[in-house]
């Protein structure tokens, strides 16, 4: 199989797998009180899963709009770093291409583009992964939002249990041994959870999620190699 075929296959495969998360997002958005259109606009315009889940998670917990926006933006900052890494590879010429490429700068497209064996395949991986995920993510968001509306009591309890599980599934890969500095990631994660639970009784809903960002301090100073690079 050629490297090009392998890149295409991996990109489409990842896109289909990620599409499944869209069902969970659509259901979570419905549970938080968003209608189908609002869920779809988030998937089509925001198009960055963790921020979307955070926004509906905070709103679902009764949080204010500001807390919801704050948590979504905090989680969106990593896409800025991805953009910096992708800029030399994509080298988008002209304003239109840059504006278009920026919309698809997310975890998965960055991982696929950076892992590709050369620059041309890197670009191919970025665009194919982006397109597959974009279509799948938006379709499954609608499915999830429509499917979740009009559920009865027991089904609603099931959905309530699905939402935290979806967040855990998003978090999980960052805590595994294959992730760089997994031990530090775990420390920060435990810190974030503890801060959020301690603050829950005393701050307005949603604020504890944004405030949990202070747990990043547990990561400590940058490693020496990073400082040098």
């Amino acid at each position: 199989m050629s490297a090009r075929t392998a890149t295409l296959r991996d990109a489409v495969g990842l896109g289909l797998a990620v599409g499944l998360y869209g069902v969970a997002f659509g259901a979570a958005a419905d549970a938080a009180g968003l209608d189908v259109w609002q869920a779809l606009v988030l998937s089509a315009l925001m198009f960055t899963g963790a921020s979307q889940f955070a926004l509906v998670g905070v709103l679902g917990a009764g949080g204010s709009g500001l807390a919801a926006i704050g948590s979504a933006l905090l989680l969106g900052t990593r896409n800025t770093v991805y953009g910096v890494r992708l800029a030399p590879l994509l080298a988008p010429r002209g304003v239109l291409r840059r504006v278009g490429a920026a919309h698809w700068v997310i975890d998965e497209t960055t991982a696929m583009a950076v892992a590709a064996p050369d620059r041309e395949l890197g670009r191919l991986a970025f665009w194919v992964t982006g397109a597959t995920i974009y279509v799948g993510w938006n379709l499954t968001t609608v499915l999830g939002a429509l499917g979740a509306s009009g559920l009865g009591g027991t089904a609603q309890a099931a959905l309530d249990a699905v939402v935290p599980a979806a967040f855990l599934a998003l978090l999980w890969p960052r805590l595994q041994r294959t992730s760089p500095e997994a031990v530090v990631q775990r420390r920060v994660a435990v810190g974030g959870a503890v801060v959020a639970l301690l603050l829950t009784p005393v701050v307005p809903a949603g604020v504890q999620v944004v405030a949990a960002v202070v747990a990043v301090a547990l990561a400590g100073r940058p490693r020496h190699e990073e400082a040098v690079r």
Binding site: A61, I69, V163, A169, L197, V216, A219
Partner: protein, 105 residues
């Protein structure tokens, strides 16, 4: 939250997240690749996602509560530990939550 302001939240957050992406492709790399900036950005998702897991699973308004969601979360963690696919993790968590709800009446 009333409908109009909910749309405002949706649109403001969506545009803000898009501008964060665009900034990465547009600003000089040196602005973003400061060691402290990359250090913080690398660990923000762990802190926030863990906070969301905790809040979604164990709180209700200002109260800490234990119910089917926490049981579902425990089952989800077990499923993730044995590398179950995402959809299986969610179905098991949902089934657990529904079961606890049915048993607790």
């Amino acid at each position: 939250m009333i409908g109009g302001s909910l749309w405002t939240v949706v649109l403001v957050a969506a545009v803000g997240c898009y501008l964060l992406k665009l900034a990465g492709l547009s600003v000089p790399a040196a602005w973003v690749e400061h060691p402290w900036v990359t250090r913080v950005v690398e660990f923000v998702p762990a802190a926030l996602l863990a906070a969301l897991v905790a809040v979604q699973a164990a709180t209700s308004g200002p109260d800490l509560v234990v119910d089917g969601r926490l049981a579902g979360l425990a089952v989800a963690a077990l499923a993730l530990a044995v590398r179950a696919p995402f959809i299986v993790v969610l179905v098991l968590a949902g089934a657990t939550g529904a079961l606890v709800h049915a048993l607790a009446g």
